[in-house]
Symmetry: C2
Subunit: 289 residues, 2 copies
């Protein structure tokens, strides 16, 4: 199955487990609204690509891992959009969850998605509970209070902040979890896959800065020019458009070179180059590097 269809089907199955007639309807509607229609599903597709390079011998576990990662990503977006943080009215081209369902349900939808991520992993264990325990460790650290998304968001409330630490927690951690989890789901050792995810997280951050500078707000489903307006650090502000595009290219080459030995290394290398192209909107792809 094509990876985007595969992840959407896996997420649908996960959400279906909570969206029955005995659940509070607004909450489960909001949880579904927060994950469908999705964005590019970059992280779960990365998880699949690594699992396939490691032979993906338990696809139901890989599905659970990829789903957990995407649910946690979406949960973080729901909470980040809340009035006390970004106070964002729109997300992916439609009203944010708290605008559509109210703040209470938005807080709870985020909580519910976090919990569902772990429940989904526990359901898929079958005869491989040790893989699930590994995956829960990987995934929980990537959203946790030390180096995970929760930590990343919390650094915004501190007076002194190390930009690299902040971006690694806020963006890099879930990319690193995607590669580690892809390997762990396929029964491979996850440790050596971390670097690939970290570098791709950095690449994605640069691409995000480029999109904010010159993307089409209609295609992106959110306003652009926010880094400049809010005086936020960005690769474009630091290096200029061409410099940022060159850094992205360099990161992608670095990522491809970091792939550990595995049966599908060649195919994975090719697909990383292909996928990285999709990070960027057409406006930027057309820019000569």
């Amino acid at each position: 199955m094509e990876p985007l269809a595969r992840i959407n089907r896996a997420i649908e199955a996960s959400i279906d487990t909570v969206a029955g007639p005995s659940s509070p309807p607004k909450l489960t509607q909001a949880m579904r609204y927060a994950v469908f229609p999705g964005g590019a599903r970059v992280r779960p597709r990365l998880c699949y690509a690594v699992a396939e390079a490691c032979l993906d011998d338990r696809p139901e576990i890989t599905d659970a891992a990829a789903t957990a990662i995407e649910l946690l990503h979406c949960a973080s977006l729901v909470h980040d959009d809340l009035p006390c943080f970004d106070d964002a009215d729109y997300r992916r081209g439609k009203p944010s969850v708290h605008k559509a369902f109210g703040e209470e349900i938005a807080v709870l939808a985020g909580d519910g998605l976090i919990v569902l991520a772990f429940e989904t992993l526990s359901r898929s264990a079958g005869a491989h509970p040790a893989r699930i325990v590994d995956l829960i460790g990987i995934v929980s650290r990537s959203v946790g209070a030390v180096h995970g998304i929760t930590a990343g968001q919390a650094w915004e409330s501190e007076a002194a902040i190390d930009l690299e630490v902040y971006q690694r927690a806020k963006t890099g951690a879930l990319f690193a979890a995607a590669t580690e989890a892809g390997a762990a789901a396929a029964g491979a050792s996850s440790q050596s896959w971390r670097t690939l995810g970290e570098i791709l997280g950095e690449a994605y951050q640069v691409a995000d800065d480029l999109r904010d500078a010159v993307g089409d707000p209609y295609d992106l489903g959110k306003p652009i020019g926010r880094d400049e307006a809010l005086d936020r650090p960005s690769a474009v502000r630091e290096l200029g458009l061409f410099g940022a595009k060159a850094r992205l290219k360099h990161k992608v080459a670095q990522a491809a070179a970091s792939i550990p030995d595995c049966p599908g290394a060649e195919g994975l290398r090719a697909s990383i180059h292909l996928e990285a192209g999709k990070f960027l909107p057409p406006e930027i792809q057309r820019l000569a590097a």
Copy 2:
């Protein structure tokens, strides 16, 4: 070790894993503040009591299960206290987390505690990953969007609400998780332990209604008379003080009678009677039933 000291030590060890120098300080301070000093730790002590009745052969797994349950309980209190829900200024006799640290950090502290609960379970697996997978299923369902705490809180946003369903999700689910998890942590079958937790959850709800009616706000660390003031349903409003106290006594007897066959059934029965007494403040214990 005495159960209260045991759970506090286990929670301390869990919080210590996130409170290092590389974590965002406000977030981890707020997480610690949300769990220390604790309340009576009723749910984790119930988890221990059941595990001991089942011989508690892996105390480190029981510690992780009891800790996860208490972290999730505390996370729910932090989020429930937020301005968009109860807007509570005080909790356990001190300013609520959002009053002390701001709303952003309160949202993140709740998120961080949820994630830490699952991470703590994954860390304790050792040679028993299948027990951890069971525990993650039990614990995640008890705080999830169908019958768990998140569902319970979300029912408050619905126009039509079944009181029994609401209370079972909001209060009962975590008690049921405590008994199920105690059994699962000790390698026993958890299913037959659910009823005990559910009945104790109902008993606790009645005791909570009694505390709200006649407790000492100073001892409780929160205002009383809220059920009456907010026109909320309560066993005291339905049955009167004596009627509510009689229902509590009946629930405790029912609970004691529901204990499944296990090596420590006798001791557990005695401790349930003893513990249930502690549910109540002295004002109510003195009331003739």
